[in-house]
C-alpha cells in the first residue's frame, strides 16, 4: 500500500478501504457464513500445491490471502471446524465452549497458565474468533528490549520493518480508535466508538490520577465497512461476533482468500512435517479423523501457523533420523521462550447501575506506563484496558477474590454496579518457560503438549505494581469496594525468530534455520511481546512474510539477509 494513502486514510475516517483485499464486499449482508465455502477450490489429494499452511488463524489466513492474490496455489489445514456462525455461534458464554482449544494440554511450572477459553482458539478463524478485539501495535522498544533495558531479547527486525504492514492490516480490520500518542504515534482508519457507562466510570478515575486513556484501538467496525455492519454493542465479543462487526480472519481475510483459490481443509489435524531426502519439507502429514489413515498434503513450501503451543508441538513431534529431538530443534530452541501476559483485573463498585455487559468489553485503554521506568523497580511495563466480564466471567472474578456460597451470590447480585479494568503486563521471555511433549497422547495418537511457566522476579514486581495502579484508579473514581482476580492472557513466542540458529528457530524472514522451505507464520516467532494484545502484530508479521515469500527475498540464502536488519542480541542463558 502506498504510505501516502495510509496517511490520508487516517484523516478520511472510514471512507477509504484497502485496495488489495475484497473480503468486506464478499461477505453477505444477510448471512454470517464465510462466503465461498460452497464453491471453494479443492485440490486433488496427491497434487503438489505451492504452499500448505497449518492453521487458519491470524497468521495463516493473512499469509494465504496475500499469496493467493499473487497466484500461489494454497491449502490450509485447520484442526477445528469450518464455522457456520448463524447456527454454530450463540450469544452465550457456556454455549461457546466449542470455540476454544479444549483438547487436553498439561500445564506445569511454578505458575501454571490456564489455557482453553482463556487464550486458545480452534476452528477456521483461529483465536481471533474469540479475542476481545483490542488491536494495539507493539512499541518500537519492544523490538530491542535487550539492548535498551537489558532484559528479554532483541528481534532481528525493527518496528520500521512492520510499520507499513501495521497500517495495511489496520485498514483491513478496520481498526477504530482515537489518534494514538504512544509508541510510534499514529492515526486509525475509523473513528473511536462511543464510550460506555462502565468505561466512562473507569476513565474518570484514571484522569484523577493523571493517567491518560484513549478510546480504542479495537478491530470493530464503527460505521459500515463494505457489507460488514456497525457494531450493535451486545457485549459478546469473546463468544464470537455474530454481527460480523468484530475483525477476525474469518471476515477480514478468508473471504478474499477463498475467492482467490485457497482451499481450507477443516477438521484436519496436522501430525508432522515430512521431509524429503534432501532435507526439504515435502508437505504435511495430517489426519482428517481420529483413527483414520494418514494423509499427506504436498507443497513446495510449508508454513506452520498453529500458535505458541501447537506450532512447537508439531515441530517437536516431527521426528526423523535427521531430527531425533524434533524438527528444527538441533539447538534445543523449539518450544522455549513461550510467553503470556499478566492480566490482572480489578473491579470497583458504585451506587449507580453501570451494567458493564452493555457495549464491547474493549473500550478505553492506556499505554502511559508501557515503557521502562526505573523508579518503579522493574524493567518494561504494562498497559491498562477496560474489560467487562459477562456473568460466568464475573463469577470467576468473584471466586478468585475468595468468595463462594452466600458471599459469592451477594457479589453476583451486585453485578450491575461494577466496572472492571485490567492490565497487560509484559512478562519476560525465559528459556525454561517452554512447550514440550507429554507422555499422554490425544485421540489422533499424537503426544499432547505440556506448557511450563514460572514467573521471574521482574514479572512479579511488574504485576504487583500494576495491580496497585488499577486499584488506585478505582479508588480515585470513588469505588466503594474492590474485587481482584490475578490471571494471565495471550500466548506468544515458543519458536522465536533471531539472527543465529543457536538462539532461535527461524531467521529474520521467519524461515527455519534447519529446513530451507519451512516457515513459521504465527505469534510463536515473536522474541518479546510488549504489553500489547498480539493479534495485530501476528497479522502484520504474516503480511510482511507474504510479501517476502512472493518476491523471493524470504528465501534469500545471503547470511546478512537471514540475520536481519539488525543482528538480534538474544541471550540463551
Amino acid at each position: 500500500m502506498n504510505r501516502q494513502t495510509g496517511r490520508f486514510r487516517g484523516l478520511l475516517k472510514g471512507s477509504v478501504g484497502p485496495v488489495d483485499n475484497d473480503s468486506r464486499y464478499l461477505l453477505d449482508v444477510h448471512s454470517r457464513q464465510l462466503p465461498g465455502e460452497a464453491t471453494m477450490r479443492h485440490y486433488d489429494e496427491d497434487e503438489q500445491v505451492d504452499l500448505v499452511v497449518v492453521g487458519a488463524g491470524a497468521g495463516g489466513s493473512v499469509l494465504a490471502q496475500r499469496l493467493a492474490r499473487r497466484g500461489w496455489r494454497v491449502v490450509i489445514l485447520e484442526a477445528g471446524p469450518f464455522w457456520h456462525p448463524d447456527e454454530d455461534w450463540v450469544s452465550d458464554e457456556a454455549g461457546s465452549h466449542g470455540l476454544y482449544w479444549t483438547q487436553k494440554r498439561i500445564i506445569g511450572g511454578a505458575d501454571p497458565i490456564e489455557l482453553g477459553k482463556n487464550n486458545s482458539g480452534r476452528g477456521v478463524g483461529g483465536s481471533m474468533i474469540h479475542y476481545a478485539g483490542y488491536t494495539p501495535r507493539f512499541h518500537p522498544s519492544d523490538f530491542e528490549t535487550f539492548t535498551r533495558d537489558g532484559v528479554g531479547a532483541d528481534w532481528p527486525i525493527r518496528y520500521e520493518d512492520l510499520l507499513g504492514h501495521y497500517e495495511r492490516v489496520e485498514a483491513e480490520l478496520p481498526v477504530a480508535g482515537q489518534d494514538w500518542p504512544w509508541g510510534y504515534p499514529h492515526r486509525y482508519p475509523f473513528s473511536p466508538h462511543p464510550v460506555s457507562e462502565q468505561a466512562t466510570t473507569l476513565w474518570r478515575g484514571a484522569r484523577k490520577l493523571g493517567i491518560q486513556m484513549r478510546v480504542g484501538p479495537v478491530g470493530i467496525v464503527n460505521g459500515t465497512f463494505g457489507n460488514r455492519p456497525h457494531c450493535i454493542y451486545r457485549g459478546y465479543c469473546l463468544q464470537g461476533c455474530k454481527v460480523n462487526a468484530k475483525a477476525s480472519p474469518y471476515v477480514t481475510h478468508l473471504p478474499d482468500a477463498l475467492a482467490h483459490g485457497v482451499e481450507i481443509r477443516a477438521g484436519c489435524m496436522a501430525a508432522r512435517v515430512e521431509l524429503d531426502e534432501a532435507g526439504r519439507a515435502r508437505g504435511v502429514v495430517y489426519f482428517d479423523e481420529a483413527g483414520g489413515p494418514e494423509r499427506l498434503a504436498r507443497a513446495r513450501f510449508v508454513a506452520v501457523a498453529g500458535y505458541s503451543i501447537e506450532t512447537p508441538r508439531l515441530l517437536l513431534g516431527s521426528t526423523s533420523a535427521r531430527f531425533p529431538d524434533g524438527l528444527c530443534n538441533d539447538h534445543d530452541q523449539v518450544g522455549r521462550y513461550v510467553m503470556v501476559q499478566g492480566a490482572t483485573q480489578t473491579a470497583g463498585r458504585w451506587p449507580d447501575e453501570i451494567r458493564m455487559y452493555k457495549a464491547p468489553p474493549p473500550e478505553v485503554s492506556s499505554e502511559d506506563l508501557y515503557e521502562t521506568d526505573e523508579s518503579r523497580g522493574f524493567a518494561r511495563g504494562f498497559s491498562i484496558q477496560t474489560v467487562s466480564p459477562l456473568p460466568i466471567g464475573w463469577a470467576e472474578h468473584v471466586l478468585a477474590d475468595g468468595h463462594w456460597g452466600r458471599a459469592m451470590r451477594e457479589y453476583m447480585r451486585d453485578y450491575n454496579h461494577w466496572a472492571t479494568v485490567g492490565v497487560l503486563n509484559e512478562l519476560l521471555a525465559h528459556p525454561d518457560n517452554r512447550v514440550t511433549l507429554a507422555e499422554e497422547t490425544d485421540p489422533y495418537g499424537l503426544p499432547v503438549a505440556r506448557m511450563d511457566y514460572t514467573l521471574t522476579d521482574n514479572d512479579k514486581a511488574n504485576m504487583a505494581y500494576s495491580t496497585h495502579v488499577i486499584t488506585d484508579i478505582l479508588r480515585a473514581g470513588g469505588a466503594q469496594d474492590v474485587l481482584t482476580i490475578h490471571r494471565y492472557a495471550h500466548l506468544i513466542g515458543g519458536a522465536r525468530m533471531g539472527s543465529s540458529p543457536e538462539a532461535s528457530v527461524v531467521d529474520a524472514n521467519q524461515r527455519a534455520w534447519a529446513v530451507p522451505n519451512l516457515f513459521l507464520a504465527d505469534g510463536s516467532v515473536c522474541p518479546t511481546q510488549g504489553s500489547a494484545n498480539p493479534a495485530l502484530t501476528i497479522m502484520a508479521l504474516a503480511s510482511r512474510l507474504a510479501d517476502r515469500m512472493a518476491d523471493g527475498t524470504a528465501m534469500d540464502e545471503d547470511p546478512q539477509a537471514r540475520t536481519g536488519t539488525t543482528p538480534a542480541r538474544q541471550p540463551t542463558g
Partner: protein
C-alpha cells in the same frame, strides 16, 4: 428461620450488603432481598423483582434461544456420577452456590453433563489427575472428611458443618485419604469452574442479577454515559423503606 437469622435493613447505595464492607466479612442473610415478582430466580430472591430475561427471548436468534431454553428442560438423569455419589454431589453443589431451597438451578446435572460428554476445559495441571477423576476424588474426600468430623456422610451433615468442610477445601486445607491424590486448592478451582458455569449460564441466575442476557440481533443502544435502560431492562430494587417514603410524601399516595 429464627428471627435472629433475619438481616437488618441494609443500605445498598452505601454497599452495606457487600461482604468486604461488613464487620464479619459475611453477607447479610438473604431475607433482606425482595421476592421475585415475575419469572423465576434461584430461591425466588434477587435484586430485580420485576425483571424476567426470558420475556425478551423472542428477540434472540434461534441458535441462542435453543441453547438457553435447553437449560430449562427437566434436568437429569445423571450419566457420569453414580447413584452413590449423587447425594454428595448435590449437597456440595448446593453449598457452593448457597442454594438451600427450591427453586434450584440444576447445577449438579450441569456438571454431570459436562463430564459425561467430556467437554473439558483444555488444560490439566501437571500435579493433578484428569478433571473427571478429580471430581470423583473430591466427592470421596468430602465424605471421608465428613465421617472424620461428624461420623456421617457429607450430605447428612448440617449446613454449618458442610460449609466448614467446603471452606477448608477452598483454602486448600484438607489432607489424608483421597485428598492425598490431589492438589486440594487446584481441585477446588476445577470444581468451581464447572459449578459456576452451570449456575450462571442459567437464565434464572440472570434474573437474579439483572443481566440483560443474549442481545443478538437486537443489540444495546443505551450504553451510557448516563444510566439509561433499554425498554426490556428493569431497574433494580432500591433500599428505600416504603413506610418512610409514604410518610414523607403523603400527597403522592393520597387516594
Amino acid at each position: 428461620m429464627a428471627a435472629s437469622d433475619r438481616a437488618d435493613k441494609v443500605d445498598m447505595d452505601k454497599g452495606e450488603h457487600l461482604p468486604h464492607r461488613r464487620a464479619d466479612g459475611q453477607p447479610p442473610h438473604p431475607s433482606w432481598l425482595p421476592r421475585q415478582r415475575v419469572g423465576t430466580t434461584p430461591q425466588m430472591i434477587g435484586r430485580y423483582p420485576d425483571y424476567d430475561v426470558l420475556a425478551a427471548a423472542g428477540t434472540w436468534d434461534e441458535a441462542t434461544r435453543k441453547a438457553v431454553f435447553a437449560r430449562l428442560e427437566p434436568p437429569g438423569p445423571l450419566r457420569f456420577f453414580t447413584a452413590a455419589e449423587e447425594p454428595t454431589l448435590r449437597a456440595f453443589c448446593d453449598v457452593c452456590t448457597a442454594q438451600d431451597v427450591e427453586p434450584r438451578v440444576p447445577v449438579a446435572e450441569s456438571v454431570d453433563t459436562k463430564l459425561a460428554d467430556g467437554k473439558l476445559d483444555g488444560f490439566q495441571y501437571a500435579d493433578m489427575p484428569d478433571d473427571r477423576d478429580t471430581w470423583r476424588l473430591v466427592l470421596a474426600g468430602l465424605d471421608e472428611t465428613a465421617r472424620d468430623r461428624a461420623g456421617t456422610r457429607f450430605a447428612d451433615c448440617d449446613l454449618p458443618a458442610q460449609g466448614a468442610i467446603v471452606g477448608d477445601l477452598a483454602a486448600g486445607n484438607l489432607s489424608g485419604g483421597s485428598w492425598q491424590q490431589l492438589n486440594v486448592a487446584r481441585a477446588w478451582s476445577v470444581c468451581m469452574r464447572a459449578i459456576l458455569s452451570g449456575f450462571y449460564s442459567h437464565p434464572w441466575a440472570w434474573n437474579e442479577i439483572g443481566f440483560g442476557g443474549p442481545a443478538y440481533p437486537r443489540g444495546y443502544m443505551r450504553t451510557g454515559p448516563v444510566s439509561t435502560l433499554e425498554p426490556f431492562e428493569k431497574p433494580g430494587a432500591t433500599s428505600e423503606d416504603a413506610a418512610v417514603v409514604v410518610s414523607a410524601h403523603p400527597e403522592e399516595f393520597d387516594e
